[in-house]
Amino acid sequence: SQQGEEDPQALSIQEGENATMNCSYKTSINNLQWYRQNSGRGLVHLILIRSNEREKHSGRLRVTLDTSKKSSSLLITASRAADTASYFCATDAAIGGGADGLTFGKGTHLIIQP
């Protein structure tokens, strides 16, 4: 079942601009992860933020998490052509244990125009 929903579905910006993508989810989570997928490839993990964290940075990436609003945002600063990809948020429901997979949203397709 889908939990995370990314917004917007598609985003086109000029190289050098910042790109912001949002993710909303429905149930309480342990953590939230962001992944990138280049066309026709597997997903690559970008960043994991736990439910007790509010902000996390990794290079040009900044992720925020607002558990009261059940939302997260991914900011890519100073975008480059190589950032063109689909970006997915994945949530991990805070119910039960075990090894069940993450629940992925449908993704934001980001295009960086040269």
């Binding site: 597997g42 997903l43 994945a90 069940d100 993450l102 449908k106």
Partner: protein
């Protein structure tokens, strides 16, 4: 670096054929997963495994089975391929959750297998 490999990047099969998709990881991860990805539907979990010979159904297990005889290898089997199983198949592996209340850890994905069933 974690490496997850999948046996084929592209595969073309005929309706009714038995299809094996292989996935191997080299990081000694306990957990392994199979997803399919379709336009407009995102990634959906087919099966997962948290140990050798263990398997659990995901959201869409119908028409699929899995095998995990060795820790590093997780196979997805389409017993009788159908056209609605044309899709991108993604394998992933991860460490187990950290503790009873721990969250799911980072998943490492293979490059994907694009399967076309005619």
């Amino acid at each position: 670096d974690v490496k997850v490999t999948q046996s084929s990047r592209y595969l073309v099969k005929r309706t009714g054929e038995k299809v094996f998709l292989e996935c191997v990881q080299d990081m000694d991860h306990e957990n392994m997963f199979w997803y399919r990805q379709d336009p407009g539907l995102g990634l959906r979990l087919i099966y997962f495994s948290y140990d050798v010979k263990m398997k659990e159904k995901g959201d869409i297990p119908e028409g699929y089975s899995v095998s995990r005889e060795k820790k590093e290898r997780f196979s997805l089997i389409l017993e009788s391929a159908s056209t609605n199983q044309t899709s991108m198949y993604l394998c992933a592996s991860s460490l187990p959750p950290a503790g009873l209340a721990g969250g799911r850890e980072t998943q490492y994905f293979g490059p994907g297998t694009r399967l076309l069933v005619l």
